[in-house]
Amino acid sequence: MTSQSVPILIVETLTKRFGGLIAVDQMSFDVREHEVMGIIGPNGSGKSTTMNLISGALKATSGTIRLKERELTAMPAHKIARLGIARTFQLVRVLPDLTAIENVVAGAAFAHKPRWGAEARAFAVALLERLDLGGKQDLPVGSLTYIDQKRLELARALASEPEVLLLDEWLAGLNPSELKIGIDLIASLRDEGRTVILVEHVMDAIRSLCDRCVVMNSGRKIAEGTPAAVLSDREVIRAYLGDG
């Protein structure tokens, strides 16, 4: 089904330098509507930097990022968010001074499809229930468990009804039973027809969730295709296991 869909996010020759280090080097790929796209690769290969470039947390040195027809490359993060890109962070970032429901309203109030007041609260309550956080809406977020904080962060990202959702190692740090819950949750997002970019180390998740994936090594794209195809690619195996 993915082959007929139109590309919604297009990344072309994206490059990011930190001084002498090239973290992302001439990356090009696109993401189609309703697809789950994985970005995988060894540690330090530039996956998270790519995510940060897309969300506007970092500014690209060169190259372009386009969402539909809009060029995002030089935009500040808040404008990118308003155009419909929402994200979670590699190390979970909930808003510690706010209650759970306020955290979700924070995601809804300013971004892509703004909601406010009673409408935002009702929407947030529905999202919290959807993510199995029902009944925890008035708790201070400090008292939530790790996976609940992760869920809350995801709820905040979903609250803007994003065109593209960026999940930066959202499954990291979960124990095996939580991992299964997490994978099912992302699968349900895919079934709703959402467009997701996933940076992930958990190979089971990549295999079961992604329609396609891009493999990065030392800032470059070394392979692209279905999970089954790229994971059997010789260069990919070499990147993960070393030349030995």
Binding site: S55, G56, A57, P76, A77, H78, A81, R82, A86, R87, F89, R93, L95, P96, D97, L98, E102, V105, A106, G107, A109, F110, A111, H112, P114, W116, R156, S160
Partner: protein, 308 residues
């Protein structure tokens, strides 16, 4: 309106009513103390509108306040303009200055902002003195009006009520919510679509507006305006201490700090004038080490402990 809000509104009306009749009861010295307290209520509350949720410590109060007083003096003394006109112009000038300062510093980390505002009153004082001496003639500026202390007090009360109403409205608005998110995690704030720099600049302009307005309204109290007196860096610090002492997580928190601090400060100024600086220093340490959430925060945690 919820039950809690109704009670809050009732309380607020009673407090304002009591505050409004004070000048009819008090006179002379105590009226002047009440006037000082009312000035600080307005200054500390408007300071908290910006610095409370964002945690960006502004030391620009003295500079904006000075602009208010100085412009009123300049306009009335040198150009024969009316008090009301100058009291209307001064806040606009201060708001414009706050916009410029905000655009330059509020994109950066909070430290740069504090540093920039730290020397601001002193810098403007130097600049204004120089302009005054070289271009405007180095004579003093007079603010002669028919206002009594009671009149000034009532004007400041009205401004305070306006600040509270505005603060109440902001707290319920999207802007207020945005500021709380910024104070909580600025990176997340950007990624949920908040224009963080602009939100901070807008609120900073609001505090600049009110500080200058208050400076303008208080000017008739001094009759004679001199840049060296009206641009007081000390004022900025007193406002910070009062607000933090009361607690900046509630709109009415600073109120709790202002009244006792004004009374003690007046007492020390009269009895031990050489020790005011020392007292201010110890107040800062008291807040940092023993009252990090202010008196209101302390009371809340005590109530919670008793309730358990």
């Amino acid at each position: 309106m919820s039950r809690g809000e109704a009670i809050g509104l009732m309380l607020a009306i009673i407090v304002v009513a009591v505050a409004a009749v004070l000048p009819l009861i008090l006179d002379g010295y105590w009226l002047s103390v009440a006037l000082t307290a009312m000035m600080y209520v307005a200054l500390a509350t408007s300071w908290t509108l910006f610095s409370g949720p964002t945690r960006y410590l502004s030391l620009a109060t003295g500079a904006f306040f000075g602009i208010g007083g100085y412009l009123v003096g300049l306009g009335m003394s040198d150009y024969g303009l009316s008090f009301w006109l100058m009291a209307a112009i001064a806040p606009v000038v201060a708001t414009a200055l706050a916009l410029l300062i905000g655009l330059a510093t509020l994109r950066l980390s909070g430290v740069y902002f504090v540093i920039f505002t730290l020397g601001l009153a002193e810098m403007i004082r130097n600049l204004v003195s120089w302009i005054q001496n070289n271009f405007l003639g180095s004579r003093g500026l007079y603010v002669l009006t028919d206002f009594t202390d009671a009149d000034i007090y009532w004007m400041l009360l009205a401004v305070s009520v306006a600040i509270f109403a505005l603060g109440w409205w902001i707290n319920r608005s999207r802007l207020g919510f945005a500021l709380r998110i910024i104070g909580s995690d600025e990176e997340v704030a950007k990624h949920v679509g908040i224009d963080t720099a602009w939100s901070k600049v807008v609120l900073f302009m609001v505090t600049g507006f009110f500080a200058a307005l208050i400076g303008a309204l208080v000017a008739p109290r001094y009759s004679y305006i001199e840049p060296n007196v009206v641009f007081s860096p000390e004022l900025s610090f007193i406002v910070v201490v009062m607000a933090l002492l009361g607690g900046i997580h509630r709109l009415w928190g600073p109120l709790v700090g202002v009244i006792p601090f004004t009374l003690i400060w007046e007492g020390i100024t009269i009895s031990f004038p050489n020790y005011t600086t020392l007292f201010l220093g110890f107040s800062f340490l008291l807040i940092v080490y023993f009252l990090p959430h202010g008196v209101v925060g302390l009371m809340q945690s005590l109530v919670r402990r008793v309730g358990r």
